[in-house]
Amino acid sequence: MSISRDDVRKIAELARLEIAEDRIERMARELSAVLDYAASLGQLDLQGCEPTAFAPAEAPLREDGLDERRLTPEMALAAAPEAEQGFFLVPPIVENLNP
């Protein structure tokens, strides 16, 4: 198996997901099945193949102007689960470190 139960716990934490203990084993198995399948790429000759990361698009940049997409605070906050006086409200931020 490519992925251990500890791996599942670790990546779940990174992704801010909580996987119930009784689902971890099965998740590890399912993810491993896909990764084992992905290992078939090892058989492909990748000599001279640079990684593709981009659509082969020309690169238009934006001129430094304002546009019409700006929202009013009311619109910005309309879908917020909780908001008050122009601010989004969230439960207290206890991690006092913004990396």
Partner: protein, 485 residues
């Protein structure tokens, strides 16, 4: 064993573009909360970034000024971490292929100029702002405002080239001067337009290898940088001195209480999972772009200061002060084109800067009120000895608050300048006639009495004569009576 500190800085420069890094929202500071936002900078589902050309151009200009290598193709990347003021929970930044690499910033420290080497400079987006938890009904909440989210930032990372906190402070002062000089940022640390984090370690003097480093955050003023670093270096010395080892950590500096808070390691264990931003194509900066940017680059402050030394014969210190701000250097140089460079420098350094400081005014306001040409007009009268120094300073004082050129000001204040030879000849004659004793002493070789005679003429002129002119007239007149001739 003697230890030395090794410090590297990571600076963030907020750009003064009109719009944000990846959307058309205003990048201004101080708007009502969540009023400068759109689907893109709020991270709404489906929104996509489009890069602001002006922000990239600012990065290119700073890179060129610092002598960096500018990549013709660089790559935006996503940096992942969850935080409420990060709309997408990833930041668009650059990672393994940044726009600018290498380069150095020359910084004058005491009598020498040192070039502090850089690793990289790249463009990225700022985060929003979240606030400390506060009471809200029966529970605690934090407020979040996304106005700042997406404002363009440049990140500049130095090599670990600093050994002393004051060097870091001097570096930041020089960096602030440069970004203002280039017109890409206001560089105000109080407003967060220039921010600084530091990596700090200590090692035995002579060692090549680095010690374990800590990361120091929240250095929000030049003074804070110096004090925070001093505190952290002292802490590390203490740990090592008592036989301990430094552990990798992130520390927050609290400038108000001069205290360091150490974060536990679990809280900063990050795996940022960088990968190339698929929503943005390669960032291409071609030769034509570079050439234009290079052409538009102003003479840089350190080069200009050197030129002031060589061309106008200024002391290096004075040249450095004049090149603190580009507007000041321009002001000075407009004057230096019309009057003697040293005279102009003396007046700018003493009179102009004094008034600016007293009135807490900006140079722009000053230039509007007393344009360099106008002040140069006054100085040319000083240089031609038409105006004595004290009177010139009086006229300067009037200039600050009143319109008009020198003659108009003199007329308005009913001052008649008696500085021509014709004006002064009768006064010189009278002084000689009234003081036969000192005249005799002078003619007898005791030339120091000339000063007394000059004083007598000045008195008679009511302070309106120029001492040097009086002295020359007296010498000429007395020479006629010299027995030696």
């Amino acid at each position: 064993m003697a230890y030395e500190a090794v410090i590297g800085l990571e600076c963030h420069i907020q750009l003064n573009t009109r719009s944000k890094m990846f959307c058309g929202c205003p990048a201004e500071f101080g708007a009502a909360p969540n009023s400068n936002v759109c689907p893109v900078c709020l991270g709404l589902p489906g929104a996509l970034p489009v890069t602001n050309r002006a922000a990239v151009d600012a990065a290119v200009r700073l890179g060129l000024a610092l002598g960096c290598q500018i990549r013709s193709e660089s790559v935006f990347a996503r940096k992942h971490y969850f935080y409420p003021d990060m709309p997408k929970n990833y930041q668009i930044t650059q990672y393994d292929r940044p726009l600018c690499e290498g380069g150095a910033l020359p910084v004058r420290i005491g009598e020498e100029t040192r070039a502090f080497e850089l690793i990289r400079v790249h463009a990225e987006e700022d985060t929003g702002k979240s606030f400390h938890p506060e009471r809200y009904g029966d529970r605690q909440v934090s407020r979040v405002d996304f106005n700042r989210a997406g404002v363009p930032l440049l990140e500049l990372v130095t090599r670990p080239v600093f050994r002393e906190p004051p060097e870091c402070a001097a570096f930041l002062v020089a960096l602030r001067r440069l970004v203002r000089w280039l017109g890409i940022s206001d560089g105000d640390m109080e407003k967060g337009q220039l921010r600084c984090d530091a990596n700090v370690s200590i090692r035995p003097v002579g060692d090549e290898a680095f010690g374990t480093k800590t990361e120091l955050k929240n250095l929000n003023s030049i003074k804070g940088v110096e004090k925070g670093l001093t505190a952290e270096i002292a802490r590390q010395h203490k740990v090592v001195g008592s036989g301990g080892t430094i552990e990798q950590a992130t520390l927050l500096y609290d400038a108000d209480h001069d205290k360091l808070a150490i974060m536990r390691s679990k809280e900063y264990a990050h795996d940022y999972r960088y990968f190339p931003e698929p929503d943005l194509p390669l960032l291409r900066v071609d030769a034509a772009w570079l050439a234009t940017a290079r052409e538009r680059l102003p003479e840089l402050p350190w080069a200009r200061a050197e030129r002031f030394v060589s061309r106008y014969g200024l002391p290096a210190y004075d040249a450095g002060i004049l090149c603190d701000q580009r507007e000041l250097a321009d002001y000075y140089e407009t004057m230096a084109a019309r009057v003697d460079g040293k005279l102009a420098s003396n007046w700018v350094m003493t009179e102009v800067l004094r008034v600016l400081k007293e009135r807490d005014g900006s140079l722009a306001d000053w230039s509007a009120r007393v344009p360099a040409e106008r002040l140069a007009g006054l100085l040319s009268r000083v240089a031609s000895r038409e105006l004595p120094g004290p009177l010139a300073k009086q006229v300067f004082g009037w200039m600050v608050d009143e319109p008009g050129d020198v003659d108009e000001l003199l007329g308005r204040h009913e001052v008649k300048v008696r500085s021509s030879n014709e004006d002064l000849a009768p006064l010189v004659q009278a002084a000689i006639d009234e003081n036969p004793g000192p005249v005799a002493q002078y003619l007898g070789g005791k030339t120091a009495t000339l000063g007394f005679l000059v004083g007598q003429v000045m008195k008679k002129s009511g302070g309106q004569a120029v001492p040097q002119t009086v002295k020359e007239l007296l010498e000429a007149e007395l020479a006629k009576r010299s027995p030696a001739r």
